[in-house]
């Protein structure tokens, strides 16, 4: 009979128990899961069962993680994601969440850049932890990403991006994520990157402060290479601060726009007109 072990097909004698399987495949496993639930070693296995054998504390090797992601995402999608290189300019509320999402889906390479350090006030929305306060954000994030998937290649650049250095840094990327805080810096980045790489898509963020309705946030195509995620109008101001829910929504719009671009799909659906409207 055929079962699946850690998402891979495996042929097994009919009537085998979970323990017999463990002895054969992974004797050191101390946690046995069948079809989503912990099971006892003497449980009899049946055709089509999904078995996960875990050794607590052990980190799966690259091949195993790859097989898991291939099974989840289908081979065609996974191959494109695994071979992709994405740049993220700024790793605050938007950039850190985009990096986490892309790492979880097994992106090949990330180039992250930011000059900032982790401050206590960042923790209401950014993907950092209390024990990372005071660290450069790019290094703290690189450590966090390695805990999610150590096989994602992360290039962490602790520097201020300027018109003089950003083109060289982001030369390898297929898509650039704009995740800055200040509006004039967003504009600087987009203009500079576009002048050097007029064919490469840029996924930017604009308008995600406060706690307005979720569905005002959209993904809009603004011209030939620029996509903008956000509501287009809600700036961060005193009384309208940046908070995890809406920043997270906008960041995941950006992450999904990147994914769609990597798969050769149009990120915007044309149904939501937000960012391109002139206020």
């Amino acid at each position: 009979m055929w079962i699946k072990i850690n998402e891979r097909e495996y042929e097994l004698a009919t009537g085998s128990t979970l323990d017999q399987l463990r002895q054969k495949v992974k004797p050191e496993a101390d946690l046995l899961i069948v079809n989503g639930f912990p099971a006892s070693p003497d449980a009899a296995l049946q055709e089509g069962d999904r078995v996960v054998l875990i050794q607590r504390g052990e980190i799966p090797v690259e091949d195993e993680l790859d097989a898991l992601l291939t099974a989840r995402h289908t081979p065609g999608v996974h191959e494109k994601v695994r071979s992709a290189c994405v740049g993220i300019a700024g790793v605050g509320g938007l950039g850190s969440a985009v990096a986490v999402a892309l790492t979880r889906i097994g992106i090949g390479q990330l180039i992250i850049a930011d000059f900032d350090i982790v401050e206590p006030s960042n923790l209401n929305r950014q993907q950092f932890f209390l024990d990372q306060i005071g660290l450069p954000k790019v290094y703290a994030l690189r450590d966090t990403l390695a805990r999610i998937n150590p096989h994602v290649h992360v290039t962490a650049c602790h520097l201020k991006l300027t018109p003089g250095n950003l083109a060289e840094l982001f030369t390898p990327v297929q898509v650039l994520v704009e995740a800055f805080d200040k509006a004039d810096q967003k504009v600087m980045l987009i203009e500079e990157f576009a002048s050097r790489f007029p064919e490469k898509p840029i996924v930017a963020g604009s308008g995600m402060a406060g706690y307005g309705p979720s569905n005002t946030i959209g993904t809009e195509r603004c011209g030939s290479q620029l996509f903008v995620c956000g509501d287009g109008t809600t700036a961060a101001e005193p009384g309208t601060g940046l908070m995890a829910p809406r920043v997270g929504i906008a960041a995941h719009h950006q992450a999904n726009a990147v994914l769609r671009l990597l798969l050769g799909l149009e990120p915007s659906n044309g149904a939501i007109e937000t960012a391109c409207k002139l206020s």
């Binding site: 700024g90 605050g92 504009v187 203009e191 576009a194 002048s195 011209g223 620029l226 287009g232 809600t234």
Partner: protein, 66 residues
Amino acid sequence: MQIILNGKPKEVAAGLTISELLKQLRLDIKQVVVERNASIVAKQGYERECLNDGDNLEIVHFVGGG
């Protein structure tokens, strides 16, 4: 003359520059990205470049936060 601004036709004076148009629209130059006929215009071009009849312009106004 007529240009297309963010997908909609708009009558503007002949020979208008991008910075003059932004002034009319009361937009802060530092907070906008302007794409003209499928290429993003660098800031140096705002004063120099005059718009032509039929130009397709996309103006994206950015707000802070991220």
